[in-house]
């Protein structure tokens, strides 16, 4: 079974082709460059190098976010359109879960993270169980890194932080967690698309037409609008 995995949620542009239990090819860059221009040529190059035609694909797996809104949308749009037009299943994996896979042999909990500006991160908590399956412990969320560190401290277990944005939050996390905070080396900063492919290989399929990214955060305009509605309601009930 040939699976094509696509991850464009952050700076990393990752494409992988696996066949059964074998990784056939991976394309990874970590550049501040426009994903929209580069994803389809990358898929084209990888499939050609691997002598695989689009019609030979059996499944598409996509990193569904969180991450850069535009980045996630580019990957999701390409993935859902490919799956729909080739009439093959689509599976979606959290972009954080895909990154958490870099912590496979860590004895403790895993906190993959992306910077979300103003002291915040997108993160979640994961752990490999006894069958070497990655399990979600705390669902993906958008939280201040200092607050996240305080919550993590209650676990009283070593926490592995993964992602190139740990540079931005290292101090805030270490301050609270001390020696419980462990940070991956540079070579494990970025998600591997082959891990994404294996995570999605046996995952149940999405309803392709209805599938949308998991932004985790509401669009700013919508959040403001809801807040206004809420205030109006309160004003009226006070009267």
């Amino acid at each position: 079974m040939k699976v094509l995995a696509i991850d464009t949620s952050n700076f990393t542009l990752g494409i992988a082709l696996i066949d059964g239990n074998q990784v056939i090819g991976e394309y990874i860059t970590n550049l501040k460059k426009n994903h929209s221009v580069r994803v389809m040529p990358a898929i084209d190059t990888l499939l050609k190098d691997c002598d695989t035609l689009p019609k030979e694909l059996d499944k598409i797996v996509v990193a569904k976010g969180p991450g850069s809104y535009t980045g996630v949308r580019i990957g999701v749009t390409i993935a859902k359109t490919l799956a729909w037009t080739l009439n093959i299943p689509l599976a979606a994996i959290s972009s954080l879960e895909a990154l958490a896979a870099n912590g496979r042999y860590f004895n403790g909990l895993i906190s993959p993270l992306f910077d979300a500006r103003r002291g915040q991160v997108y993160t979640g908590l994961y752990e490999y169980d006894e069958n070497e399956q990655l399990k979600e412990i705390v669902a993906d969320c958008n939280i201040l890194s200092s607050e996240w560190a305080t919550r993590l401290k209650e676990w009283k277990r070593p926490i592995l932080f993964i992602g190139q944005d740990i540079e931005i939050h290292r101090e805030a996390l270490s301050e609270v967690l001390g020696e419980l905070a462990v940070f991956v080396p540079y070579s494990l900063y970025n998600p591997k698309p082959s891990e994404l492919a294996f995570l999605g290989k046996n995952k149940e399929e999405e309803d392709i037409h209805l599938f949308v990214p998991n932004y985790v955060r509401m669009a700013e305009a919508e959040a403001k609008w809801l807040e206004q509605q809420e205030n109006q309601k309160n004003d009226e009930s006070e009267r």
Binding site: D44, T70, H209, A219
Partner: protein, 338 residues
């Protein structure tokens, strides 16, 4: 040999997710538009991030619907035409990447289309274009006069120096507390009032350029001054006066360009082309220029749609234009250079 040319058109530049199938550049086999207008109404305008999110929700559904209605398979499609710009960049990216994915999956040629070229070629779905032709493009983001010396060639001979006509409509509508989008409301009100209030016209002599910001300010000042003096101004009359000022400038400049460039047709294009006042004034004015055909597309082809992108794509594809898988959304795409 295959006789027919089939183009799949895709458009996501603003707040409509659209797909269409066009035969031979002139026949609409399907034309599907999913509008987001209801979602943006509460914000009083299009919110780019929300627009992009809706496009992702709709894109495959809309394209599937267009293919089904046209009753064609991928083997029938000669090219996929997609709006590459101008527009909201995040919105453009959804259509562009969906188009690239389909083109790649089935080995179908891809053609990037300029959104305004699309609006102009919506006219070809009504009548075969005869060159040279002139197009008056009026929409929320554009007010320009475009000369088409031959098929697929675009020369902007005049454009707005500040606000687009549609933008001025929306701003004046907001001042009059009319709901979004304001254009149709002003048009409706204008028909109930008389143009009794004196408002300026920016002629910009010796140029085919336009300017509407002075007019917009004049409307706001008129309302403000009346309020201070405690006078009441009838919104119908203000709307009628504003509309008359906009239309007079548009029509007068169009007619003189039609004469100067000796064109065979005038092609009305863009969302504001739905304006009844503008349609009526143009029809009236063109009685004075015999031999020049005025083409006004039906409302459904004036607002954003993908049939127009397919129609323009058909011309470009015939001329040998093709895009590759690196095609990007280009919010500032230039119609003369694309």
């Amino acid at each position: 040999m295959k006789q027919e040319q089939i183009i799949l058109g895709i458009e996501t530049s603003c707040d409509e997710t659209a797909a269409a199938v066009i035969k031979n550049g002139t026949d609409i086999l399907s034309n599907v538009v999913a509008s987001q207008i209801e979602s943006h109404k509460r914000f009083g305008g299009v919110v780019p991030e929300i627009a992009s999110r809706h496009h992702v929700e709709q894109i495959t559904l809309v394209i599937e619907e267009a293919l089904q209605q046209a009753n064609i398979t991928y083997e029938d499609i000669d090219a996929i035409a997609v709006t590459e710009g101008p527009g909201l960049v995040g919105a453009l990216l959804i259509g562009v990447n969906a188009a690239k994915a389909i083109a790649f999956a089935h080995g179908i040629p891809l053609v990037g289309v300029h959104h305004i070229a699309g609006h102009i070629y919506a006219n070809r779905l009504i009548r075969e274009i005869q060159y040279p032709a002139l197009s008056l493009v009026v929409s929320g983001g554009h007010t320009e006069l475009v000369l088409l010396k031959e098929s697929g060639s675009f020369q902007v001979i005049g454009e707005t120096r500040d606000d687009a006509a549609g933008e001025a409509y929306d701003k004046v509508a907001r001042t009059l507390n009319l709901p979004y989008p304001g254009g149709p409301h002003i048009d409706r009100l204008a028909h109930e009032g008389t143009p009794s209030i004196k408002l300026p016209r920016a002629w910009l002599e010796g140029s085919y350029d336009f300017s509407f910001s002075g007019l917009k300010s004049a409307v706001i000042n008129t309302l403000h001054n009346a309020e201070q003096r405690g006078e009441e101004i009838k919104p119908e009359n203000l709307a009628a006066s504003f509309q008359q000022s906009v239309i007079e400038v548009l029509v007068t400049k169009t007619i003189s360009a039609v004469k100067e460039y000796d064109v065979k047709q005038l092609l009305l294009a863009g969302g504001v082309a739905a304006n009844k006042g503008l349609r009526a004034a143009l029809t009236e004015a063109f009685k004075e220029v015999p031999g020049v055909e005025l083409i006004i597309p039906p409302l459904s082809l004036c607002t954003d749609n993908a049939a127009m992108i397919g129609a323009a794509g058909s011309i470009l594809f015939e001329k040998g234009k093709q895009s590759n898988l690196a095609l990007n959304g280009n919010p500032g795409l230039d119609i003369e250079a694309f």
